[in-house]
């Protein structure tokens, strides 16, 4: 925590470039509470837990897209001093990275050495490495007889890996009758529910800890996962702490992904911009996974009449998908928004006018009006009219997401010494959960944030929701506020009884207890009147408020038409989020979603060797993720109009971005890039096509 370090960094930073976001949030100025801890290394992640006498283990994995493990000779590996266990079973594997067993040893180096010393005989099998190995171009053919004009195209997106900086896995410290589990997870409670069996313990005899987690984006949901499960079994068997974490290659190969997509569209339009018929065929590249490849087009945000939709999942020899930041949506939005821009060009309409008219909900229209002003849409040149080497383009993307409150628990303890604990078992996967819990508590009670200590990420705390579906804040915020209000109520009851007054004469403001609006007691003095147990407020639900999470993004791009390099310059990201608790972490969440969307549009691609199916880029050198010099200027705009309650913010800002960038590139160069990522070779090819 920040108070543990000697580094002095101001926590109140003035806003300089986002004046419009000021004054709407519960807290405008607090910086992420664990920011300093994370930057200085004081924050301890599960991957930092190298406990005394640990054993280490990794899975042994198939190195090809399809291969049969015919024989295993582990004699040499077993001879290595310090190797504890080798367990490998011959089987037929269907993707690079598929586990066939594990090796456990006294150090990570020894594990690597043992794996290298294994003599495994693989028989390679034929592979398919992408959707088009199975599905040749399927042409969409809908009912477009009423149309003035029809448009048809095929769009595609690559497999995107989550690339969490802290890899999958964890540490299990089994003491025989009790255990501590250090998980890297998005669902502390779900780990608790799934780890008891491999531990051989009851829930009351172990604790799951996840105080810090280095990224998940959807890939760390659904229980302990195979790495942590292996750690539990090994720890129980060998009575030592067991450390099982994926290395970077494992992380790219076998922890899920956003499936690839192919979208074949045919739509019919009238000259006035209405869509009167068509068909959309979508394909999800789910590798070996069964399901999970859905593409959410039509998104439902636009008024499509009489457009049929059919989806098919397509297998190939690659790791299966896991939920990834708005599953199904970014790939769908890319196709939908670019398709609409191309259709707009066909009927000679400005895409702003076209989309503004076609979108269903007025909220989008209002957001589009604001965004157009902020980005400078009036500077936009008509698509295909620029001839210079450097061309500027503008694009619009939209996104929509529901808001859910699956229920969670929170507790607030006000101690006799004046300290306040805010407690919930849920985790902070980068969302700023720790910070928002503190602010909700402080704000509900009426005390400075510095009086509050936040405890999160332990299964022994009141269970909270998993961080999936962007439900964390919408669930925990109202719940924590309710718990804090209850605790405050109990404190005021005590004061009322002690002074012979009525509880509703008392209030708390800025850390001072007021009676009938006048200063009554300083906070510490008021709390001193409690018994040594203090008072505890708890809640298990809260009011979710109304409204969904909608967003519109405008992007300005400059394309270097000689090199094919896309330079995103400016992003206006308007995001509805209801009641904002912490302005800075809310803005950060929007910025993060945009960053990931730009990276997806421009660089990310899990590339499988077309002959043997191995991933050729299972590292951060060739699996390219956007870096500081690739960043546009991103302006998050918090939109709270017409909403109450805390809304989803994790996934929504990731939906419109690739779409808006692709539309901007199309506007700039006069030719669409229909296949992500938008690398120079594709831009040059599109320019060539446009020239001819």
């Amino acid at each position: 925590m920040a108070s543990d370090t000697a580094v002095s960094i101001p926590t109140n930073m003035p806003t300089t470039n986002r004046p419009m976001n000021l004054g709407q949030s519960m807290d405008d100025n607090t910086s992420r509470l664990d920011g300093v801890a994370k930057i200085t290394g004081a924050a301890k992640y599960s991957s930092d837990m190298i406990l005394p006498n640990s054993l280490f283990a990794r899975f042994v994995r198939c190195p090809f897209g399809a291969a049969s493990l015919e024989s295993v000779d582990d004699a040499d590996a077993k001879k290595i001093d310090g190797v504890i266990e080798i367990d490998i079973q011959p089987k037929e594997c269907q993707y690079d990275g598929q586990p066939v067993g594990h090796v456990a040893a006294n150090s990570p180096m020894l594990v690597d050495r043992a794996i290298k010393a294994l003599n495994l005989k693989w028989k390679k099998l034929p592979v398919k490495t992408q959707i088009t190995d199975t599905v040749k171009e399927e042409i969409a053919k809908g009912d477009v007889k009423d149309a003035d004009v029809t448009f048809a195209a095929v769009y595609s997106t690559p497999v995107q890996t989550h690339s969490s900086l802290e890899t999958h896995g964890g540490v299990v410290d089994h003491h025989g009758d009790k255990a501590t589990v250090y998980a890297s997870t998005q669902g502390t409670s779900s780990v608790r529910d799934g780890i008891g069996e491999p531990l051989g313990l009851k829930a009351s005899d172990f604790e799951v800890i996840c105080e810090y987690v280095g990224g998940g984006f959807g890939s760390k949901l659904g229980g302990p996962g195979k790495e942590l499960t292996l750690a539990a079994k090994l720890s129980q068997k060998f009575k030592r702490p067991a450390y099982v974490m994926c290395n970077r290659a494992d992380e790219h190969l076998d922890t899920g992904n956003r499936p690839s997509s192919m979208t074949s569209v045919q739509i019919g339009l009238k000259k006035d911009g209405s869509v009167v018929g068509g068909e959309i065929l979508t394909y999800g590249g789910t590798g070996v996974g069964k399901g999970g490849g859905g593409v959410s087009i039509p998104s439902g945000r636009y008024n499509f009449q009489n457009v049929n939709k059919k989806h098919t999942d397509v297998s190939f020899n690659g790791g299966g998908p896991r939920p990834f930041r708005a599953p199904g949506h970014p790939q769908a939005a890319f196709a939908e928004e670019l398709m609409l821009d191309e259709a707009a060009a066909l009927i000679g309409m400005d895409p702003f006018t076209f989309k503004r008219k076609l979108v269903k909900d007025d909220v989008y229209r209002e957001m589009m009006d604001m965004g157009a002003k902020l980005i400078g849409w009036s500077d936009r040149k008509e698509t295909g009219t620029q001839k210079s080497a450097m061309r500027t383009g503008y694009g619009i993307g939209t996104g929509g997401w529901g808001s859910a409150n699956p229920g969670g628990n929170a507790e607030v303890v006000i101690h006799q010494d004046g300290s306040v604990e805010s407690r919930t078992g849920t985790q902070d996967i980068g969302t700023g959960q720790r910070t928002t819990m503190g602010i909700c508590t402080a704000d509900s009670i009426g005390i400075p944030l510095s009086f509050v200590t936040v405890q999160i990420g332990r299964s022994t705390l009141p269970p909270g929701p998993g961080s999936g579906g962007s439900v964390t804040s919408p669930t925990t915020a109202p719940t924590m506020m309710a718990a804090a209000a209850q605790a405050k109520g109990k404190l005021l009851d005590v004061l009322a009884k002690g002074s012979g007054g009525d509880a509703n004469e008392f209030s708390v403001k800025d850390g001072v207890v007021l009676r009938k609006g006048e200063k009554f007691l300083a906070w510490k003095d008021a709390c001193a009147k409690l018994t040594p147990d203090g008072v505890t407020g708890s809640a298990s639900t809260g009011d979710g408020g109304k409204g969904n999470s909608q967003g519109v993004q405008f992007i300005k791009v400059v394309v270097d038409c000689e090199t094919g390099i896309v330079h995103p310059k400016h992003v206006i990201a308007i995001q509805s989020c209801g009641r904002v608790i912490c302005r800075k972490t809310a803005e950060s969440q929007i910025i993060g979603g945009v960053i990931q969307g730009i990276s997806y549009a421009m660089f990310e691609n899990k590339i499988l060797d077309r002959n043997n199916g191995a991933m050729v880029n299972p590292n951060l050198e060739w699996y390219k993720i956007l870096g500081p010099n690739d960043m546009p200027h991103i302006e998050p705009v918090l939109w709270w109009h017409g909403q109450t309650g805390v809304k989803s913010l994790g996934e929504p800002p990731n939906i419109p971005t690739a779409a808006a960038l692709a539309c901007a590139v199309y506007n700039a160069i006069g030719a669409p890039i229909r296949h992500l990522p938008m690398t120079p070779d594709k831009v040059l090819k599109a320019l060539e096509g446009a020239a001819s």
Partner: protein, 333 residues
């Protein structure tokens, strides 16, 4: 990674003696250790001795970078960061500064050395992956030929199709650099003879005699020199094509030029035809300059997925020329 001993010789001569010591199974030089660590982690080499020369300096070394009169001297252990920040080099041989500024990341540049940069092994994803026993590692196949070759060579390749990864090498090439060594019969090798194409041998990329150690690099000043890399990512990425250029100018007219491309061949690839075509060209004449650079990819043999490099190379060359001529503002405008 297996265990290894670390030797810390006090001179390059001692380092060379250690490198030739036949009682070691595999002794390798460690300078900044950047590429070495990659190799160790990927299980590509298994040395029993590392010869640490990070703090060794040659006898005649005055400073990491020394520019006196007609000679530029850079020590083997000079870091890329020192080159990038050198005000002297920015005047005497700006191609070198531009080349390293575009390389890697600030953190890597703080540790990576000039000599290490020249001798680094290729980044080909088949070479770097233990699972692929490619030609360069003694196997029978170059997997790029029928596989994923979007980042591979368009010139000088076969039977192996790597590109040489160094930015500094083509920049030093156009400055007519010489690499000075100890532990061999000859005291130096001009950089244009430092590398060989795969048809002359695939197991290594350079011509250093066994056990030879680079002590320093000298080159001629090239005030009108430039370097331009085209990279997919602008942070921490390898170029898809790059070009270094040194000019002799008479006003804005090119009297003579040396042009060398990076990331397109297994060695730095000199473009003599473009150098000829540039003679007499006025850099202020955009059409003439474009025309002179258009032949940069003449003779290129693209692979299935890297044809885009053919289109990009003339652009990189032209921009390097503009930078060399002091017209950086016209680039990307």
């Amino acid at each position: 990674m297996n265990s290894f001993a670390i030797a810390q010789p006090k001179s390059y001569e001692d380092a060379s003696t250690l490198a030739k010591d036949k009682s070691y199974r595999l002794a390798v030089i460690k300078a900044g250790g950047i590429d070495l660590l990659d190799h160790l982690k990927e299980g590509l080499i298994d040395p029993d001795v590392l010869i640490d020369v990070r703090r060794v300096r040659a006898a005649g070394a005055k400073a990491p970078i020394d520019v006196s009169g007609d000679t530029v001297r850079i020590e083997a252990g000079t870091t890329l960061a020192e080159i990038a920040h050198s005000a002297e080099l920015a005047k005497a041989a700006p191609a070198l500064v531009y080349a390293v500024e575009s390389a890697a990341s600030p953190q890597v540049r703080n540790a990576a050395t000039a000599a290490g940069n020249l001798l680094q092994r290729p980044r080909c994803w088949y070479y770097r992956n233990e699972q692929f026993n490619c030609l360069k590692k003694g196997g029978a196949t170059c997997f790029a030929v029928e596989g994923e070759n979007r980042y591979h060579a368009i010139f000088g390749d076969g039977p192996c199709h790597i590109v040489h990864p160094s930015n500094l090498a083509p920049a030093l090439w156009v400055c007519d650099a010489t690499v000075h060594i100890v532990g061999a019969e000859q005291p130096s090798i001009p950089i244009r003879y430092l590398y060989h194409t795969p048809d002359k041998g695939v197991r290594s990329e350079n011509n250093l005699p066994p056990g030879a150690v680079i002590t320093h690099i000298t080159c001629k000043p090239a005030k009108a020199s430039g370097f331009y890399a085209i990279k997919e990512k602008q942070s921490f990425d390898w170029p898809v094509v790059a070009a270094a250029v040194a000019l002799e100018l008479d006003g804005t007219v090119i009297k003579s030029a040396v042009v060398c491309a990076g990331a397109v061949a297994p060695i730095p690839w000199e473009l003599r035809n473009v150098a000829s075509a540039l003679r007499g060209v006025d850099v202020a004449d955009d059409a003439a300059l474009t025309k002179a650079c258009a032949g940069a990819s003449a003779g290129a043999k693209p692979m299935t997925d890297n044809g885009y490099k053919v289109k990009l190379l003339p652009v990189a060359v032209k921009r390097a020329v503009l930078i060399a001529a002091g017209r950086k503002a016209e680039v990307e405008s």
